[in-house]
């Protein structure tokens, strides 16, 4: 007879394949000044960036590990490779990308998506971008879409104006680490009034064992512009751990609109410790759609600082924690100006002994009068071995603002399962329907292709469990 569905969501991780580790250059394991200088010199950087890196390294060494969130005690910083350059030169067409690497991205469906529905695509393999291309029609409108290293060289003024202004190097230990060893990532600049109605994507792939990937992404949307950017990530399944510590900074100028979507599907040996933050100027809207399906531990709380009147933040956070995984995910909405509004919707699922935590901050300062916020966080627990907790923080400093907060934790009930089964669905179909229903408010917000992909991933996880 039917049991609790504790066998579902056992990951049949389909991106766990790996290539031989043949690289143009590979830094020795461990982190010190020499490594940082070596990275900087490999990139041909001038003193400006080298000094920033070295300063950040000191901050990284000085800062203590966070004592909250997930268990970080097992990270061995000496056993990580901080920089791998996979090839001598970035490809301008896919044909220029080494065959083995291209095959990887073919398997991940990237060139195909580029043809079908994207305005531009980047692909990062280990530390460096191997491909970055924007369609001509968007280039003509003045959009800059480059890997971040290239942007530093080609657009130094623009770069220096914004780099580190949203996430300063001393923000937290992993932001300092990223600033010290950053490599790759996306630099996206949308000129005034340009509205991109189709998305851009960058895909991040870790291939080597004990690899650290530290991309740095900077998005600048000028007045009245709009842009959608999508980030995807996968890695091979190894028995030893890798580290992904990215920093994403977004500047949304007056009345602009930025949507940043992440489908994080790292293998379950990756620590995913990412700082994502946006500033929203007057009338600007920033939307984070943050889907976390993979990794060993994710600590990620996409933030929007609303610094101008009528700015709006919309954050959707989705986390699925299965066996051996801890998803410590959430959102931060910081209201610093009057009439600002935010909506946070967080949905998490814990199965097979997985742990999901919602960690959120809502801050409305004294002068942010007439602000409004709504926070909804729902957790679904699939079996007795799994757990979920909620850590919401609210600081409301004026009484002319309104705040709504709802939180629910539910278990897939025996009654729900029995009900659907009694109508003809088998146990897996029934669980799958309940999970999809639970996630539907988030999935509805994804671009169609990604919604389909997400549903497929979840169904795949169900399939592996029959029998």
């Amino acid at each position: 007879m039917s049991k609790s569905p504790n066998n579902i969501l056992i990951k049949d991780y389909q991106f766990g394949f790996s290539n031989a580790e043949k690289y143009f250059y590979r830094e020795k394991k461990g982190l010190n000044e020499r490594v940082v200088k070596s990275i900087s010199s490999h990139k041909g950087e001038d003193e400006y960036m080298r000094d920033i890196r070295l300063k950040a390294l000191q901050i990284f060494f000085e800062k203590k590990m966070p004592s909250w969130g997930g268990d970080l005690s097992k990270i061995n910083f000496d056993n990580i490779t901080y920089y791998i350059k996979p090839q001598a030169k970035k490809g301008r067409t896919w044909n220029e990308v080494p065959k083995e690497i291209k095959t990887t991205f073919d398997k991940l469906g990237i060139p195909d998506s580029e043809k079908r529905f994207l305005a531009g695509v980047g692909a990062q393999y280990e530390s460096e971008s191997v491909y970055h291309q924007l369609k001509q029609e968007w280039k003509d409108k003045g959009i800059i879409f480059e890997d971040t290293d290239t942007a530093l060289k080609k657009y130094p003024e623009l770069f220096k104006k914004y780099f580190g202004t949203v996430v300063p190097m001393n923000d937290n230990k992993f932001a300092a680490l990223n600033t010290a060893v950053w490599s790759g990532g996306t630099f996206l600049y949308v000129p005034k009034g340009v509205k991109m109605n189709i998305p851009l994507q960058n895909y991040f792939r870790i291939n080597a064992k004990n690899m650290g990937q530290f991309e740095r992404t900077l998005i600048i949307a000028e007045e009245d512009s709009s842009v959608q950017y999508i980030e995807g990530c996968t890695a091979p399944t190894y028995s030893t751990d890798s580290l992904h510590a990215a920093v994403v900074e977004i500047i949304a100028h007056k009345n602009s609109r930025v949507r940043y979507t992440t489908i994080q599907n790292w293998s379950s040996n990756v620590y995913n410790l990412v700082t994502k933050r946006a500033v929203a100027h007057e009338g600007a809207t920033v939307e984070w759609i943050d889907g976390n399906l993979g990794s060993k531990l994710t600590m990620k709380y996409p933030a929007v600082y609303m610094i101008g009147r009528n700015a709006h933040a919309d954050i959707l956070s989705l986390a699925v924690a299965s066996k051996g995984q801890h998803q410590d995910a959430g959102a931060k909405a910081v209201h610093l100006a009057p009439n600002t509004t935010s909506v946070i919707t967080a949905k998490s699922i814990a199965a097979n002994g997985g742990k999901s935590s919602y960690r959120g901050l809502l801050r409305i300062v004294k002068r942010a009068l007439n602000s409004k916020s709504k926070v909804v966080c729902d957790a679904l627990i699939l079996d007795d071995q799994s757990s979920s907790d909620t850590w919401p923080t609210m600081e409301i400093k004026n009484n002319q603002s309104s705040v709504e907060h709802e939180a629910t934790v539910s278990k897939i009930g025996e009654e729900q399962l029995f009900y659907l089964q009694s109508r003809g669905l088998n146990e897996n179909e029934a669980s799958s329907l309940i999970i999809n229903g639970f996630l539907s408010p988030i999935v509805k917000q994804l671009p169609m292709e990604y919604a389909v992909e997400l549903n497929r991933l979840i169904e795949l996880q169900m399939e592996g469990s029959i029998g």
Partner: protein, 249 residues
């Protein structure tokens, strides 16, 4: 069609059914009555295969096949359907697409071809109209935010769409006003016309005025204390369960 023999059932080490035997033939209507806690709903849930209950002795057969160990969906594939007293809420599970999934799952289990989408939608529309359910309900989440009466109508809607051979109505009439009972009864009559066999679990005579039972059984402390025809219901209305069961025979 349904043959229950000496059924003993327990849940969490409490013995609930203590030797129920019941034979239901195709096309018949049986009413199951009795006080709260007498075991009516347990019996209904056991026929549908609720995992909470354990059969310790006896058997349930459907069309001569022992179904004691079948999963609920396997029983559904055979044509058994239970309406829930309190249907659970399923947030985000859209009625129209869920019901099509269920219909296709049943078709697959029965090696039948799935219903074409256009045919399905047409049937759904007609059936909802028949039950007086607004069509926009089809886009809402299953059992979420509906009134008690609407939920009961949704239970009948699903039955009409899934076309069971045996339908067990577990207190379908509880909490319904007379107009809603009429609609539900019309739905049940339609199921009957489609050839369904009916078991009605109820506390009240009202619904039996619309759907006349061939047999009435009164459950008491886990056994069928009395069986009879419709006159048993009339006696019950005048006296009490206790009197009827003690003065019988």
């Amino acid at each position: 069609m349904l043959e229950i023999k000496n059924l003993h059932v327990s849940a969490e080490n409490n013995s609930i059914l203590k030797g129920v035997s019941l034979t239901v033939k195709k096309g018949e209507v049986h009413a199951l009555m009795g006080q709260n806690g007498s075991g009516k709903s347990t019996l209904a849930n056991c026929i549908a295969g609720h995992p909470f209950y354990t059969i310790t002795k006896g058997s349930i057969s459907f069309n001569k096949k022992n179904i004691n160990k079948l999963a609920p969906n396997e029983r559904a594939a055979l044509g058994i359907y239970l309406t829930f007293q309190n249907p659970p809420t399923l947030p985000g599970v859209k009625i129209s697409s869920y019901l099509r999934t269920a219909k296709n799952a049943l078709a697959e289990a029965r090696h039948e071809s799935p219903t074409e989408l256009t045919d399905y939608l047409r049937e759904l529309k007609t059936t909802m109209k028949f039950l007086g359910l607004p069509l926009k309900f089809a886009n809402r989440s299953l059992n979420e935010g509906f009134s008690g009466g609407e939920k009961k109508k949704l239970e009948i809607l699903q039955a009409l769409m899934l076309k069971p051979k045996l339908i067990i109505l577990d207190e379908i009439d509880s909490g319904l006003d007379i107009d809603a009972i009429k609609v539900v009864a019309a739905g049940v009559k339609k199921l009957q016309a489609q050839g369904a066999t009916i078991i009605i679990i109820t506390h009240y005579q009202r619904i039996l005025n619309f759907i006349a039972p061939n047999y009435v059984h009164i459950l008491q402390q886990g056994v069928i204390a009395v069986s009879g025809d419709k006159s048993l219901v009339e006696r019950l209305e005048k006296t009490s369960f206790k009197e009827v069961t003690t003065t019988h025979e």
